[in-house]
């Protein structure tokens, strides 16, 4: 394992162990709902479903359609806040 991957593994482990990952997930979900991202995505889902047919739509279909759009539609403010928090965590627990 390279140093970098070891470092990443350590960081990820710490994130999970200290509960920070969960907290960040919750924070992100709350922010996305608040800013209307969730409703936007749901509307997009409806289109996909109507396109594919209600009975034949699969998880894969949805994932393939939703994920790229979802990533792109996250508002800048939400993105900035999350990055800030991640950096802060790393700074605090870097040693």
């Amino acid at each position: 394992m390279s140093k970098e991957s070891r470092m990443r593994a350590t960081v990820n482990q710490k994130l999970t162990e200290m509960g920070e990952r969960e907290r960040l997930k919750e924070l992100l979900r709350a922010k996305l709902t608040e800013c209307g991202w969730k409703d936007q995505m749901k509307a997009h889902c409806k289109e996909v479903i109507k396109e594919k047919g209600l009975d034949h739509v699969t998880v894969e279909d949805l994932v393939v359609e939703i994920t790229p759009k979802g990533r792109a539609l996250v508002p800048d403010s939400v993105k900035k806040e999350l990055l800030h928090r991640i950096r802060a965590f790393l700074a605090q627990h870097a040693t």
Binding site: K25, L28, K46, T67, L82, R87, A88, A94
Partner: protein, 343 residues
């Protein structure tokens, strides 16, 4: 390994600049990777949620069709508070725009979901079906309650009025029965209203002012129709009574004169506050050494022909019988003599 990075690199300011430097790019890349993971997680969560809703059949529930839009607003107006029901019935009679039946869901600005304008009740007036007056909408329900005479408050007020009316008529008509009524031990039906009665009496009774006048030394004035000067709140003042009255009183009441108020105790002759010795002393004081002894608890009713002017037969049947020879005219004449001698 991370300790290789100098600490000041991790200074966080609110304007968050990405970290610079070769090692820091790796760190920054890490930060972004973590962020992407979190976003992917959120998207996947949403996909699963939507997929489940689709397969379980509740995905499209928030969209209603035209038909159900019309039926949606079934207004539940029949609450437990009935004046509101009557109010709304009156309102509907007057053909106001707000109807109580089916309402269509509407999505327009300036109007609520049922298409009504906010605060349209403020300036509406309704005609009362009873008194035909125009009442403001917000005052309508309480007005109805009083106007129709139904509902809790109006019956309470009516009861109180009846009680005070009964008091007034009763007290002015018959003097003897008031003796009994004053007794704290037993008073049929007057117990629960005793407190209210007393307060009503003290406010409304014409006697109150008359007895006060009389105490101030104004002897000849208040003698007209009120031979028994009872002040119900504080007891009986023996100065204003003739010997016959005193005797009759003492047969039915304790009669012990209070130190502070100089009034006779109106309770039963066996009241626990005073002793028999005190009662004997009072009788001697008021009626002379030959005063009759305290009434026997088992005394038989004296005369069957005793006529009670008031219809309150319950009072008369109770233990302490009034002596039958008191009449208003007697006491009126003897009072002047007594007040001179006693004082």
């Amino acid at each position: 390994m991370l300790s290789r990075f100098p600490i000041q690199i991790f200074q966080m300011k609110m304007e968050d600049m990405p970290l610079s430097g070769p090692d820091n790019t790796r760190l920054e890349a890490l930060v972004h990777d973590i962020y992407s993971e979190l976003v992917d997680d959120a998207c996947l969560g949403l996909c699963f949620e939507v997929h489940r809703a689709v397969k379980q059949g509740y995905f499209f529930l928030d969209e209603t069709d035209q038909e159900s839009m019309k039926e949606f607003g079934w207004c539940h107006v029949f609450s437990f508070f009935w004046p509101i029901c009557i109010f709304l019935w009156c309102v509907s009679l007057q053909h106001m725009p707000f109807s109580i039946t089916l309402l269509e869901i509407v999505d327009q600005p300036g109007v609520d979901i049922f298409g009504q304008v906010y605060n349209q009740w403020k300036n509406k007036e309704c005609e009362c079906p009873n008194c035909k007056r125009l009442i403001a909408a917000s005052r309508f329900a309480p007005h109805l309650e009083k106007c129709l005479g139904m509902g809790r408050n109006s019956s309470r007020i009516a009861n109180r009025r009846l009680a005070s009316n009964n008091n007034m008529s009763k007290s002015e008509s018959d003097q003897e029965d008031n003796d009994d009524l004053n007794d704290n031990d037993w008073s049929y039906g007057a117990e629960k209203k005793a407190k209210k009665r007393k307060s009503d009496k003290s406010q409304n009774s014409p006697r109150r002012s008359k007895s006060i006048k009389h105490k101030n030394g104004d002897l000849g004035s208040g003698v007209s129709t009120e031979p028994y000067k009872y002040n119900y709140n504080t007891g009986i003042s023996y100065e204003t009574l003739g010997p016959d009255e005193v005797r009759s009183l003492l047969t039915t009441q304790c009669g012990v004169i209070s130190e502070h108020t100089k009034k006779m105790c109106t309770r039963s002759p066996r009241c626990p506050q005073h002793s028999d010795e005190q009662r004997r002393a009072v009788r001697v004081f008021l009626l002379g050494p030959s005063a009759p002894s305290l009434p026997d608890p088992d005394a038989v009713v004296e005369s069957e022909s005793f006529d009670i002017p008031d219809g309150q037969t319950l009072m008369s049947r109770l233990q302490w019988e009034d002596s039958p020879d008191i009449s208003p005219t007697d006491s009126a004449s003897s009072k002047a003599i007594v007040s001179v001698s006693v004082s």
